[in-house]
Symmetry: C2
């Protein structure tokens, strides 16, 4: 049986200068389009935090793919952490900087009971800004961040240091 990391290496597309010159883009869509890889990656992310979470948060848009698969696998729901302007009021909003630009994320606070243990999932951990903003949003509702799971961690960009004190599981460090 191939490991999740092996499947990620074999299937992920590495594209230079996308979406801007100087950025090395890693496209996980071919990886998630593979049945074995989707199952193996999802199972590893769930197993890494098994029993420790009540809900999964998926970060728009690619984190929705991992978040929903993991929620189904773990028998929880999935809360959508959305880009600003997509959710009807009332929302909580958090602004942040990302690898190439600025952005904002929103959630609906009424989807989270205080004390809910939430596993945060996204495809790639780069500078950590997106994940950090997501954790801040969740904690503003009274939820507890159970951990952070990603498929790829870009080690040079310092995301892990920014999430110091949090439990982080990356399937593949590059």
């Amino acid at each position: 049986m191939r490991s999740a990391a092996d499947l990620v290496d074999r299937l992920t597309l590495v594209v230079p200068d996308f979406p801007e010159p100087g950025v090395l883009f890693r496209d996980l869509t071919p990886t998630l389009a593979d049945a074995e890889a989707l199952r193996t990656i999802t199972d590893e992310l769930v197993a890494a935090f098994a029993g420790g979470f009540d809900l999964v948060a998926g970060i728009e848009a690619r984190g929705f793919l991992l978040g929903a698969a993991a929620a189904y696998a773990a028998g929880t729901g999935v809360v959508a952490v959305r880009k600003a302007g997509k959710l009807p009021p009332q929302t909580l909003i958090e602004h942040y900087e990302l690898e190439y630009g600025v952005a904002a994320l929103e959630i609906r606070a009424d989807q989270l009971a205080p004390g809910t243990r939430v596993l945060v999932l996204d495809d790639v951990l780069a500078t950590g800004g997106t994940v950090e903003a997501t954790c801040a949003l969740l904690e503003r509702t009274g939820a507890v961040v159970a951990g952070v799971g990603v498929v790829l961690e870009l080690a040079d960009l310092g995301g892990r240091a920014r999430l110091e004190g949090r439990r982080v599981h990356a399937i593949r460090l590059v």
Copy 2:
């Protein structure tokens, strides 16, 4: 046991005048944040097309949630049908009109072997423009659309007629 339709009725948020005046927005994010609803909805969509598909297509962004959960449940991969500009080249692109505006969707053709039977999933079937564009994209690659599954179908907007000849399963008609 509550049916998927019952859970959708109970949990879905109906918001008038969002994102524009005159639009009645149905927010399924609270529904998918509920463990029982996520499982029941996903299982019904998979069961409706059981054995008839090899791959699931999820339409960005809310269709990613359903697409990935269904792909995991069915043991297939999930292909991401993305808004224009998100995927690295080379892509196929399809322009279309939607309920309030115009848009374009893209996929990477190299994720689909000819003859692959693809189940198209999205949250809401409204005018059918988004789903029709998705089916057109998939068929341009040589794939076969096995069917279309949605959580909510807005009957007054004519999406079903636009998809005539296709197998469509909606959990709830409103």
